[in-house]
Symmetry: C2
Subunit: 345 residues, 2 copies
DNA sequence: TTTAGCACTCAAACTAATCAAGTGCTAAGA
DNA sequence: TCTTAGCACTTGATTAGTTTGAGTGCTAAA
């Protein structure tokens, strides 16, 4: 559809605009492009590109900026991920080099690294098996009136919560409840557990506890949290950099968005094995109209698939960002493989 | 030092300015004040107030706004806390009315309530005994390679952390370590524990574990966290409302400030039993130059003393805010007393 | 197909003019 | 001695008008 020359121009428009933020005009392009044609020719080509909806003007006599469709074409056909800068490699190596005692530390640290590399906001999700199953449940008495409920899944997730109980803690009762849970529910997927929890369990538990509701609440809480994907977020504050015309309201809705696990999960969407770029209003969420989201999955063999993502202004240098995300997913997968190898074998 | 009339004028200037944000002029005051003098008289009085540094002009022919000293005088001598609005009472009652299973839920909820009432940012700190002591330590094996460390203090704080260990978990070893900790350290204050942890403990632990360092790290982590005061923050996003001229940098430093426990602890300062107001640059921290902080302590009998605080623009309606903070501290203390009574007796 | 040339558009930056709110000061009155 | 009417003056905000510069589309010729 596009001639070679048009592609070259589109690429240059995106490059220039993402670097400088200023609409680019025909003269600047004529000077800069490797081919040697006059600005009038460029203008004609630009008119053609505009015709196809790939670039647009900010006002009738301005230079051009890419439209969402233009970015899309650029990302799909024209961009080549930049190789990492030596400096970036150092950052990754040193930040991911240390000793970690749990997966979550690595994942959370990764969000920070990614946000540092990009100076945008980053999200990371740890590798997950598709349907993780309940693998254990404990109630640990902590003191006079305090109990900690601990729930473990077969993918190694741990959720816990302490709560207070009135009256003395009866060790017998606790044991019985724990046994009940472990007998009836271990091995089921979390949604299945949740279903049973609403169906037969309450009646059974009533045999052991005089006031089962409190316990069911707690267990439900912990379970729900375990069932939720837990994103780590790095560089939250970087969003402030792009609050064009300091629109406090949209900033607020943006922040409430990224702080709600469910919302952010739905925005990040399904894992797919390639790197995906979503641009501006390609995301249905209105708060993200001026943002782009790059997501990528990473595989850690039998331990499942995780996800990393960065959220920045639509006007981001895609080639560099794609380079960073692409390289980082591999580094992270490698690091996690090492980690699992160390602790599993 | 100030005449009655001057006080009246200062009070009116602060009231007007905090309500409208517009510098107030002599004419408006003359119309509004209960005494009946001309604007020229008011002007003379204002000149006197300015002489004393209590009010100032934004430019040579503008109306007056209070200076930090003016706010201070107002807060110290002129303000009378507003009674709560019926609506506010409802909010408190309904948000604090539900059932809670742990102190922290009440405290964290309180931060949210306070921020809702004030539309500023609120901090809450749970009641603390002066030197809380280690009252228990557990290591709970969770799965193949996972262990959870749990630390409990005598004031009911619980900190926990999971970590992975290489090689099989040896129940014997864990028991021995737990016994060691409980024998040697329970009953000590946390700083004392920390000191011992660096002195004699490592050698002793080396008897039971082949690689004690990992364990010591974890234990140190959990301990440090337990020793830190944990503030709950409500209404973070409200800070965005006051980012005058949308200065991204100062906003960023503000946010990094309130997210660092140690920093915010030092800003909030020592508990004192009255309600305290710190205004603008009375706080040394530069990021807070345009903010005021109202802190108040609350007592829960033998369970110690907690703190609540709100952070808003220097230009805040102090009478209303003082009313809210004063009323809320009492509501909270009452609620907590009930809570303790229910679970303790 | 390319390009020089030209008329045209528009945002941004600057200037000038006006307005409204407020001040300080002076001199007269109570 | 305190109060006040009156007045000259200052200042930020608003508005309208100009200028500038970067850019465009279009036409006609190469």
């Amino acid at each position: 559809m596009l001639s070679e020359r048009q592609m070259m121009i589109l690429r240059a428009v995106v490059r220039d605009f993402t670097n400088t933020g200023v609409p680019v005009g025909s003269k600047a392009l004529a000077k800069q492009l490797p081919i040697h044609v006059s600005s009038a020719t460029i203008r004609n080509e630009m008119a053609a590109l505009e015709e196809q909806g790939l670039i647009k003007k900010t006002h009738s006599s301005s230079g051009r900026i890419p439209s969402v469709e233009g970015y899309r074409y650029y990302v799909d056909h024209l961009v080549k991920p930049d190789p990492l800068r030596p400096n970036d490699i150092d950052v990754i190596q040193s930040s991911l080099g240390g000793d970690f005692h749990k997966i979550d530390e690595i994942i959370s640290q990764s969000a920070t690294i990614l946000s540092n590399l990009t100076s945008y906001t980053a999200f990371t999700l740890k590798p997950e098996l598709k349907d993780s199953r309940l693998s254990g449940f404990r109630l640990v008495p902590l003191g006079k009136r305090q109990i900690m409920a601990i729930l473990v899944t077969d993918s190694g997730d741990v959720e816990n919560q302490t709560f207070d109980v009135a009256g003395d803690v009866d060790g017998e009762q606790l044991e019985a409840v724990v046994r009940l849970i472990n007998d009836q529910l271990v091995g089921l997927t979390l949604p299945e557990v949740l279903k049973k929890l609403q169906a037969e369990i309450p009646a059974q538990i009533a045999n052991y506890l005089q006031s089962p509701q409190g316990f069911l609440d707690i267990f439900g809480d912990v379970l729900t949290r375990a069932a939720q994907e837990r994103f780590y977020v790095g560089g939250r504050l970087n969003l402030l950099n792009f609050s064009q015309d300091s629109d406090v309201d949209s900033l607020k809705s943006l922040y409430s968005l990224i702080d709600k696990t469910d919302d952010i999960a739905s925005v990040l969407g399904q894992p797919s094995d390639k790197i995906s770029v979503r641009i501006g209003n390609e995301m249905t969420n209105d708060a993200l109209r001026n943002f782009s989201l790059i997501t990528a999955t990473y595989d850690v063999d039998q331990h499942g698939q995780g996800m990393i993502a960065i959220l920045g202004p639509t006007r981001m240098p895609y080639s560099r960002m794609l380079g960073i995300v692409g390289a980082f997913r591999e580094e992270l997968a490698k690091k996690l493989l090492d980690y699992y190898r160390f602790y599993d074998e």
